[in-house]
């Protein structure tokens, strides 16, 4: 048992459930400490139990930090009445300590959500996630393999997107200056892409049916996705972090 493999080996469906539960719980707290402690905890767990590219992680965090900043100042500027003492004022705008704490909380919440989302994204193989949803949460095979086949089309669609853009460049469209022109121009892009998608979807569905795929729940798996003891240990770890950050957050405020 290798410690830094644990998060990568965790059952994806259970991991998904942990993420969802954490987010829905954090949404109830408006103090800055809870999300902040949770964030630190998640980073610590990830440091110990995973082997991820931290450079890439930092890069992926940048947009979220910017979003968090956006939340911070809008929530300060357009805050709801919250009472408390005024700590800062400018012309007609008055900011109370309560309002500031809430704004801080919301932006930390963005960071906390992002950290747990990234934890999921960095340690989960997409295919295993879908297979696990099918095997643990009884997701219909029709949907599960429908999603898989769509995922396989990603490079093909990307390539086609490039081809169409190239062809459109020759017709002198696609490099419009204004956003509204681009929004309307999207239909020109979309229609050939979607028309090709319809053809591909039908071919792929036929190929699957020709290999005796019926969409019925299956009984045999070549590589079953299992739920092991360690999954419960990790789940307990996450829940402990969630509960303790909730309690600590309330106590510290």
């Amino acid at each position: 048992m290798v410690l830094n493999e644990q998060l990568h080996e965790m059952n994806p469906a259970i991991k998904f459930l942990v993420v969802v539960v954490s987010m829905l719980t954090l949404a109830w707290f408006f103090n800055p400490w809870t999300p902040a402690i949770f964030f630190v905890g998640i980073v610590l767990i990830q440091l110990v139990c995973s082997r991820i590219n931290w450079k890439l992680w930092l890069l992926m965090m940048i947009p979220f930090v910017i979003t968090a900043f956006g939340y911070l100042w809008t929530t300060i500027l357009f805050a709801a009445e919250a009472g408390g003492t005024v700590i800062w004022s400018w012309k007609h705008i008055e900011v109370t300590d309560e309002q500031f704490a809430r704004a801080l909380s919301l932006s930390f919440r963005v960071i906390a959500f992002s950290s747990i989302s990234l934890l999921f994204a960095f340690t989960t193989r997409p295919v295993n996630f879908v297979m696990s949803l099918m095997q643990q949460f009884r997701l219909s095979p029709k949907l599960a393999y429908g999603i898989m086949v769509g995922y396989q089309f990603l490079p093909v669609v990307k390539e086609e997107f490039v081809q169409i853009r190239h062809a459109h460049r020759l017709r002198g469209v696609g490099d419009e200056k204004w956003w509204w022109q681009r929004l309307f121009g999207m239909r020109r892009m979309l229609i050939p892409l979607l028309a090709a998608a319809v053809r591909k979807a039908e071919r792929a569905a036929f190929a699957m049916e020709a290999r005796a795929f019926t969409g019925e729940p299956r009984t045999e798996f070549f590589k079953p996705v299992t739920v092991r003891f360690n999954d419960w240990v990790l789940t307990a770890l996450f829940l402990t972090l969630l509960i303790s950050s909730s309690i600590l957050g309330v106590l510290l405020t």
């Binding site: 993420v19 919301l106 999207m186 229609i191 998608a197």
Partner: protein
């Protein structure tokens, strides 16, 4: 619910999701960074783009569940191709999809004209706003600012997802690519309305 679905319809939703995921990724990427500086309201006016796939799929396939499934699948595929927002997208996709589905369910899946599509866009907007209110803590914002956000989102849902979805689907129908789907078969039958 999925039993009456043909596999090619499920795969169609999935491949459409990929197309939209690619378009979102490669086309609208500029919006993202911007929003950080302007705050949550930056998203509102283009929010409808995220509902469009459910309306297009429902308009084409015309089976119960088309809106919920397609929106959720789109979210799942975005997660699979590495959207960093990750699993929370699946939840919001599901809720938006339910909002879009509500309008079609209310009309008994019998009408697919422009106002049902617009209503569906509004439904998705309302559901997603309620969800955002909870998860993103909108309650900390001033009511007037919230009203502005809500209004923009509903408008965007109605215009971009409702009218836009119809506009794109009708354009696609004209290409003859949708042979074999409910939208083309219904066209052959005398209209219900």
């Amino acid at each position: 619910m999925l039993r009456s679905w043909k596999l090619k319809e499920v795969v169609l939703m999935s491949v459409f999701s990929v197309v939209f995921a690619v378009v979102y990724l490669l086309f609208v990427h500029v919006g993202n960074i911007w929003s950080g500086f302007i705050g949550p309201i930056a998203y509102e006016w283009i929010f409808g783009i995220w509902f469009i796939v459910s309306i297009i799929c429902m308009y084409i396939i015309r089976k119960p569940g088309a809106a919920v499934y397609s929106e959720t699948i789109t979210a799942a595929i975005e997660v699979m191709i590495g959207n960093a927002v990750g699993p929370r997208l699946i939840l919001s996709g599901l809720i938006q999809g339910l909002g879009a589905e509500a309008a079609f369910a209310a009309t008994g899946y019998k009408r697919f004209n422009w106002w049902v599509l617009v209503l569906s866009g509004v439904g998705a907007a309302v559901f997603s706003f309620a969800y955002g209110f909870f998860v993103s803590g909108y309650s900390a914002l001033a009511p007037s600012y919230l009203a502005l956000m809500f209004g923009l989102r509903v408008m965007s849902g109605a215009v971009i997802a409702g009218f836009g979805g119809k506009w794109v689907s009708d354009g696609l129908l004209a290409t003859g690519a949708l042979r074999g789907y409910a939208i083309s078969l219904d066209k052959r039958k005398p209209s219900v309305d």
